[in-house]
Structures are given as structure tokens and as C-alpha cells.
Point group: none
Chain length 132, copies 4
């Protein structure tokens, strides 16, 4: 089971709508089940540095099949996954990456959003993932 480009475009459209609704400018990345980039959009005026972060968030969410923020809790100093970010050519472990599931609850890809506060990033990612 793998996300299609048509599904990915729906996810990006929903994420862009949410981003506009909360007055933010986002980088939005979609990866497929193999964690490879499938679709991407950078809204006009969005931070350039968030380009790479959004892709890494999407990959991180699919690499471990969970929201990126959960990994970030475990990668803090003294926690069990401290400095896991050094793996896989760089993970991003703060909120904004979410697995995308199909109707049967199977993970078919992931979305990564970056461009504002992590709360806003997460909200936009959630709006995107909910479009499937």
C-alpha cells in the first residue's frame, strides 16, 4: 500500500488551506511508504531553511511510523534516544511530521510541515493528513 500522487496533492491542498487560515507560510513535503519524496510545495515567502526541515520531518515520521514530536521527547539529554538525530543523514524530531494512513489504518506515507511555530507546523500537518 503506497500513497498516490493524487492523494498527495489532496494532502498538500488541505495543508495549504489550513496554513492560509492561520496566517502562516509553510513548506509542505509528502513522502511515500518507502520514505522517498513524492510531492512538495513551498508557499511564497516561506522560510528557505524550512525546506529541508519539512522533508526531514516527513521522512522521520515514516522512518518510525509516529509523529516526529514523540521522538523528540525521547531524544532529549538523559532520555533513551538521545542524539538519534545523527542517524539517517539527519532527523528532525520536533512536531510537524505525521504518518499518513489510508481508510484501513495502514500507513501509506507521511507529511512534514515547517515554517512557523511547531504548534502551527503540527496543526497544518494534521489538516493535511486528515484529507485522506
Amino acid at each position: 500500500m503506497n500513497i498516490t500522487l493524487e492523494q498527495a496533492e489532496k494532502v498538500i491542498a488541505a495543508a495549504k488551506q489550513k496554513a492560509t487560515a492561520i496566517d502562516t507560510k509553510m513548506n509542505i513535503a509528502i513522502v511515500d511508504a518507502g520514505a522517498n519524496l513524492l510531492a512538495f510545495a513551498r508557499m511564497d515567502g516561506a522560510w528557505l531553511g524550512s525546506l529541508d526541515i519539512s522533508i526531514k520531518k516527513a521522512k522521520t515520521a515514516r522512518y518510525f511510523d509516529m509523529n516526529t514530536g514523540l521522538i523528540g521527547e525521547l531524544s532529549q539529554p538523559g532520555q533513551s534516544l538521545y542524539n538519534i538525530e545523527h542517524s539517517n543523514n539527519g532527523l528532525i524530531t520536533f512536531p510537524g511530521g505525521i504518518p499518513i494512513k489510508n481508510a484501513e489504518d495502514v500507513i501509506i506515507g507521511a507529511i512534514g510541515v515547517s515554517g512557523s511555530t511547531v504548534e502551527n507546523d503540527h496543526a497544518v500537518a494534521e489538516a493535511g493528513a486528515a484529507a485522506i
Copy 2:
């Protein structure tokens, strides 16, 4: 002058239409005037390895403001730019990357296409760039 996301989406839509018309499955990447990824789409079933190539073609076209195939002629053994591909974390210098110009003939970004023969890649990139 910089390409907008809306323009990039038009370019991708035109490129996808052309790709379908000639029965190919393409990776399509758009970079802005700063050579940074702006939008991307991988058609279902397109080669995975063409993901990176399409992005590198778009960057290469904007890095030097010319079609990628032209650079490839100069990077052959014995030519003036031999092995220029080693720069910029990897260039792709065969056809499929084209600068995108606005109505005033100013370069505002570039498109890179990969997924078939270089002739098909170039034709799809041209169809995309012509949408502006």
C-alpha cells in the same frame, strides 16, 4: 523576480499533461530564482532514481541559466568543463533541465524532468516551462 508557487503548480500541471500524452511517468522538480526547491511531483510508477536527478537538473539549469544538455556538451572528456558534475553536491548535465522565464524574458526559476529518455525528459520540461 521570482517564480511563485502558483506558477510552479501551473508548470507541473502542464508537464504532467505532456508526460501523460507521450505515455511516460516523470519526476518533475521546480526551483526558484535562488535554485531552491519550490515544488515537486513524482508520477505514480515513475523511477525512484529519477527523483534526485530531476531536482539536480532543475538546480543545474538555474545554476548556469541554460539548458542542462548544453553544459553536458562542455563537460565531456577533453572539453572545457570536464567533470563539472563534481561541483554543487552533484550536477546532472544531460537534457531535461530548462530555465523558466517570465513574460519579460527574465529567468525566474527552472524545471527539471527525469523518468524516460533524455529526449522525452526535455520535451516534458519544455512543455512545463512554456506554461509561464
Copy 3:
């Protein structure tokens, strides 16, 4: 459709058997449909430098769904894909990488073999892929 670990282990066993039969020592890598490493074995005394080559061959075969040697013919100086090896963090485009298909002729992964002449590498890869 994705190759399973059990299938990959059968592929490696068949490849090792062939390698021994022709008196070679091989690095054998299997990637899944997403081009991610699934299984690997380095025979005792095999070249260390072939470790990375075998993995890159397997990835290259899956990236473009064809034998690596075919790409190598097109990547020669003056050919259409000259210096494609600079993409995807390094391709290997001489023989030894082969897509793995299931009974329905669907590509489910790829094998990459390195450790001897490219003819021997290819023969061992073929023996491995034929085990499915």
C-alpha cells in the same frame, strides 16, 4: 508488492552457492521495493571496497528498474546519460545489479553483487535473482 526477508535470504543463499561454484568471494546486497537495504552478506575474504559497490548496484537496479550494466552503456562519454553516477549519492552502473521480480513479473526489489569481474558479479546476481 515488496520482497520479504525470507525471500531475500533465499536470494543470498543462491548467490553464495553460485559464487562458491565459480570460486569467487562476493559482497551480496538486497534492497526492497523502496530501494532500502533489506539483507546483506559479505563472504569471508571478499574485497572490502565491494561492500559499498554491492549496495549501490542493488539500489541503482531498483532506482531505474533495469540491470546496472544497461545504464553504464548510456553513461559513457558522449552518450545520453553521461555522468548520471553523480546522482542519488553515487550510482554504480557496471554489471552486477539486477531487479528481482515475483511470479507475476512485478519488481519487488533488487540484488547487487560485487567482488570479482563484472561478468562474474552479474552471473552471481542472476543466480540470486533466479531464486525467487
Copy 4:
């Protein structure tokens, strides 16, 4: 003294058995005395992101001839090896990497396991290393 492929396959088989017994899906990597990958297996459904982590754990354990978790205690903020993870193209310093010793207590390689909690990762690595 160097671990053989046959020994590495025994280690992987024991690790897989333990992983199944505690209902986990693991990435299992074995490196030799030179810290180079010797054998690898990713169990069906195991996290993709754990692929790289399991290899880095095995390398880290052999680089310093100790369990990875011990290094992680010293790499915390304020400790003597703070951020040692930046070296060697990325170390992983939480539990799951263990040196492999022969009957004479000589280190001949290392195992790295990733795919569950660090406690489970370590338990599976221990079961694997104990097979020699």
C-alpha cells in the same frame, strides 16, 4: 581474529529468534573487527529508520569496544564525551550495540539492533552476541 560470515549468520539467527520471542521487529547489523558491515537483516515490517541506526550501533560498539549505552552516558551535556555523535559520520550511543567476543574473549566484531525500545534492542543484541 575476525568474525566469519558463518558466525555472523548464527548471531543474526539468534537475534531474530529473540526478537520474535519478545514480539518485536528488528533491524540487525553485524560488523567485523574492522568495523565494516558483514551481514544485515531487516525483519518484515521493522522501522525503516532503524536500518541506519542498527548499522551505526554496531559500528559504534566496535569503534570503542564497549556497549553503545556506556558511551551514551558520557556523551550527555556536561559529560566528558559530549556530542561525540558528530564523529565517524554519525554515532548512535544509546543501547543496542554490543561487541562480539570469541571463546578467548577477543573482540571479533559487533552487533547493532534497532526497532523497539532500547531495552528490547539491547536484549536482542545480547541474545545475538551470545550465539558465539
